[in-house]
């Protein structure tokens, strides 16, 4: 642990920072630098998807119609709501409302789990319809190979997104436990950093939903 020192304003900061404001900014920039790498990580998969989609437009549209758009839409509502609850949790943290912040963090956790639950149910339906590539894929219609490629993208993109959700939920569960003990009473920067990550995972879904579910016409 780095040595802390007190400044005239705010909680103690690490010795290499002038004041809380500077430390806070450095924390935010660090998270944004990480998120920039995530933008490119997911961005590359989106670019690959749209290259194949422009090559096999009609086949990908037909495949897209076999996804459960209603479940995708419900999950979008769930995730957007969780983004609101996490934003409100950050707000509560900055206003030193510990109980409210913990409540909103729990709400975010529940919504995150609900998302994963809906997604798992959807995967189960996909499995029943023999749409899982390299596992039980069976396609009666034309162009099975290109159709399977669509579902390869669908599963890889949604699974990598779900992995980010699982990581986020795990971190959040630990943070709720810490928050209950008052660890963020003086300095809620950690909650704010978590919020940035959670919002980013939401943004990935904001693009995944239309990309996979809505481009059917």
């Amino acid at each position: 642990m780095t040595e802390l020192h007190s400044t005239s304003v705010g909680p103690p900061v690490a010795h290499h920072f002038e004041d809380f404001e500077q430390e806070h900014e450095a924390n935010m920039l660090g998270m944004w630098a990480f998120l920039a790498t995530e933008v490119l990580f997911f961005g590359a998969v989106f670019v690959a998807f749209y290259i194949y989609r422009s090559a096999y437009a009609d086949i990908f549209k037909e495949a897209s119609r076999h996804l459960y758009m209603s479940i995708g839409a419900i999950n979008t509502v769930v995730l957007l709501t969780s983004s609101l609850t996490v934003a409100l949790a950050v707000h509560a943290g900055e206003h030193k409302a510990r109980r409210l912040m913990v409540g909103l963090m729990v709400a975010t956790l529940v919504l995150g789990l609900a998302f994963l639950g809906f997604k798992a149910f959807e995967y189960y339906l996909d499995y029943q319809e023999h749409l899982v590539p390299a596992f039980n894929f069976a396609w009666e219609g034309a162009n099975p190979a290109q159709t399977q490629l669509f579902f390869v993208f669908y599963f890889i993109m949604t699974l990598v997104h779900a992995l980010h959700m699982i990581i986020g939920i795990s971190v959040l569960a630990r943070m709720i436990w810490q928050a209950r003990r008052g660890s963020y009473d003086q300095d809620s920067t950690a909650v704010e950093l978590f919020g940035l990550y959670w919002h980013f995972v939401d943004i990935v879904w904001i693009f995944l939903f239309p990309t996979l579910y809505l481009l059917r016409q």
Binding site: V9, L29, W32, G43, F209, L214, L215, Q217
Partner: protein
């Protein structure tokens, strides 16, 4: 650096954040945009389906970044960091598709 005056501890966070009302309004806007994008997906508009779906997604993402992620209220340096990933992504998208979409066998 010397602090000129000692501020009350309740105002330790000089960095700004939106009012609660703003969060609710942004959430409402996100829900309306979601309803809009789902509605548009039922109408056949040709190539405009893709354009509209991605434009709405981009607007939603910008709303989340500016307000939920506080970039609207952050320093210029934060703007640069937040934009960096997307700028490089646009370069990847632009150069990749200027190649693929100009090939005769893609359409």
């Amino acid at each position: 650096m010397t602090q000129q005056t000692s501020q009350p501890t309740s105002e330790r966070t000089a960095h700004q954040a939106p009012a609660l009302r703003t969060y609710y309004l942004i959430f409402l806007a996100l829900m309306l945009l979601l309803a809009l994008t789902v509605a548009v997906s039922f109408v056949d508009l040709g190539a405009f389906n893709e354009l509209i779906a991605l434009a709405i997604a981009a607007v939603k993402a910008v709303l989340v970044i500016l307000f939920f992620m506080h970039v609207r209220y952050s320093s210029r340096l934060t703007w640069v960091f937040a934009a960096a990933g997307f700028v490089w992504l646009l370069i990847m998208v632009g150069w990749t598709f200027s190649d693929y979409l100009s090939r005769g066998w893609m359409r």
